[in-house]
């Protein structure tokens, strides 16, 4: 998902405290920043919320790429508002992670030097306007699948950040579906572009949920702690079941010849993405990994004098006020 392959950290805490902590979680209580928590819980959450935050921030790049080239002023204003929301999501999440004892600058530096990850999906390019529709429809659609259950996560600040995020996501998915629908209902060339965008983004979207359950070794502890609410395969299945009829309505074809309704299971059967490609992208070899990290590093470096200047100004003002008192 926006947080993929989060390794649960081992915990070496007093068994009695651990049991009491687990009992609170099982009773549906929220854990708050100053409460006692196992070190593993804290570290796993920092990694997961941090990766989620980084994904919101890096996720602005593929869409930001089309703000200046949106086909109408209205589409441009909508896309601008959407991308601005994603910046907000990043900030809600950084502030949730900071309550666990890491600073935003530390997390930023870990993103910039590759010690922390962001979602694999943002290492794919947005080649044309149809891709902007497909990103809103599929990528935000997949994100919603994961974020809705996370509103009930055990960590209070994370849960509250997810509630804010979810309130804003439905706009994102709808505007994307509206873009691609307009193209699917347009000229034959426009429809071809819409189909092409779906072809390229379908499997990368399925990868967002992370590896198949049989290969994801870190889920059990996180699910016990209610940091992870569903398995990867559960969410992927839900996403496929929801998206197929939406594609059918548009007259577009999901690029999977083996996609088929399974009456007995009550779900669609579908082909898994190429997991070798997924692991390769995670390792840094996707089409845009280098670009994305370079863009974030440049923004951080170019903004340094502004951050320093504003802080120097604030300190000077405070000193002057102090002297006058």
């Amino acid at each position: 998902m926006y947080a993929q392959m989060i390794k649960s950290e081992a915990t070496q805490d007093d068994p009695e405290k651990l049991a009491a902590f687990q009992a609170r979680i099982d009773a549906g209580e929220k854990i708050e920043p100053k409460d006692w928590m196992p070190e593993g819980y804290r570290k796993t959450l920092i990694r997961q919320i941090g990766q989620h935050a980084h994904s919101e921030i890096v996720g602005q790049l593929p869409e930001g790429n089309w703000i200046t080239r949106a086909p109408t002023l209205e589409r441009k204003a909508i896309l601008l508002a959407k991308v601005q929301d994603e910046a907000g999501h990043g900030l809600y999440l950084y502030c949730a992670a900071e309550t666990l004892g890491i600073s935003r600058d530390e997390m930023t530096e870990m993103l910039l030097d590759g010690r922390m990850k962001y979602s694999s999906i943002f290492n794919y390019p947005t080649l044309n306007w149809a891709d902007i529709g497909a990103v809103g429809w599929l990528v935000d659609g997949a994100a919603i699948m994961n974020q809705v259950p996370l509103q009930r996560t055990s960590y209070g600040p994370y849960s509250r950040a997810m509630i804010r995020v979810c309130k804003e996501e439905s706009f994102h998915q709808r505007q994307g579906y509206d873009v691609i629908r307009r193209m699917a209902e347009g000229t034959p060339e426009q429809k071809k572009m819409a189909q092409d965008a779906l072809n390229r983004l379908w499997y990368p979207s399925l990868m967002m949920f992370g590896p198949s359950d049989k290969d994801s070794v870190h889920s059990a502890q996180s699910m016990k702690w209610k940091i992870k609410m569903n398995t990867n395969d559960e969410l992927r299945q839900k996403f496929v079941d929801q998206t197929v009829p939406q594609a059918e309505y548009l007259g577009l074809t999901i690029p999977d010849p083996d996609l088929k309704w399974n009456e007995e299971r009550g779900h669609y059967d579908f082909t898994d993405p190429d997991w070798n490609e997924f692991f390769d992208v995670i390792k840094g070899n996707g089409p845009c990994n280098a670009d994305r990290l370079a863009a974030r590093n440049k923004a951080w470096k170019d903004g340094q004098w502004v951050r320093d200047g504003m802080l120097a100004h604030a300190r000077k003002k405070a000193a002057r006020k102090h002297a006058a008192e």
């Binding site: 708050e32 100053k34 409460d35 006692w36 508002a81 601005q84 929301d85 907000g88 900030l91 809600y92 502030c95 949730a96 900071e98 600073s103 935003r104 600058d105 509250r160 950040a161 804010r164 804003e168 951050r307 320093d308 504003m310 802080l311 100004h313 604030a314 003002k317 405070a318």
Partner: protein
């Protein structure tokens, strides 16, 4: 000198004459910028009519381990709730 902008806690009053509520935090060099950033981060959809910001470092919070001494004394004072008292139906609403 550490050059990270300080952390501010943000409180927002919604539209409906309610009190300010904590909504989250953000970084800003000073209070004025914290208000401007809070406007962008927390009120993009008319969520508020008034913003308070306070430096996180200036907040003192109670400790979870003080829960007993702080809150248990009021548990035995049920008579503070109006439902503690039986009022005869005949006297009407009270």
């Amino acid at each position: 000198m550490k050059n990270e902008w300080p952390l501010w806690e943000v409180f927002i009053r919604g539209q409906h004459g309610m009190s300010h509520r904590h909504v989250g935090s953000l970084h800003a060099p000073d209070a004025e910028m914290a208000i401007k950033n809070a406007r962008d981060v927390y009120t993009r959809r008319n969520e508020g009519v008034s913003i308070w910001v306070v430096e996180a470092a200036a907040i003192t919070a109670s400790s979870p381990s003080d829960k007993g001494p702080l809150y248990e004394p009021s548990e035995s004072k049920v008579y503070r709730h109006p439902t503690f008292f039986d009022i005869p139906d005949e006297v009407g609403a009270m």
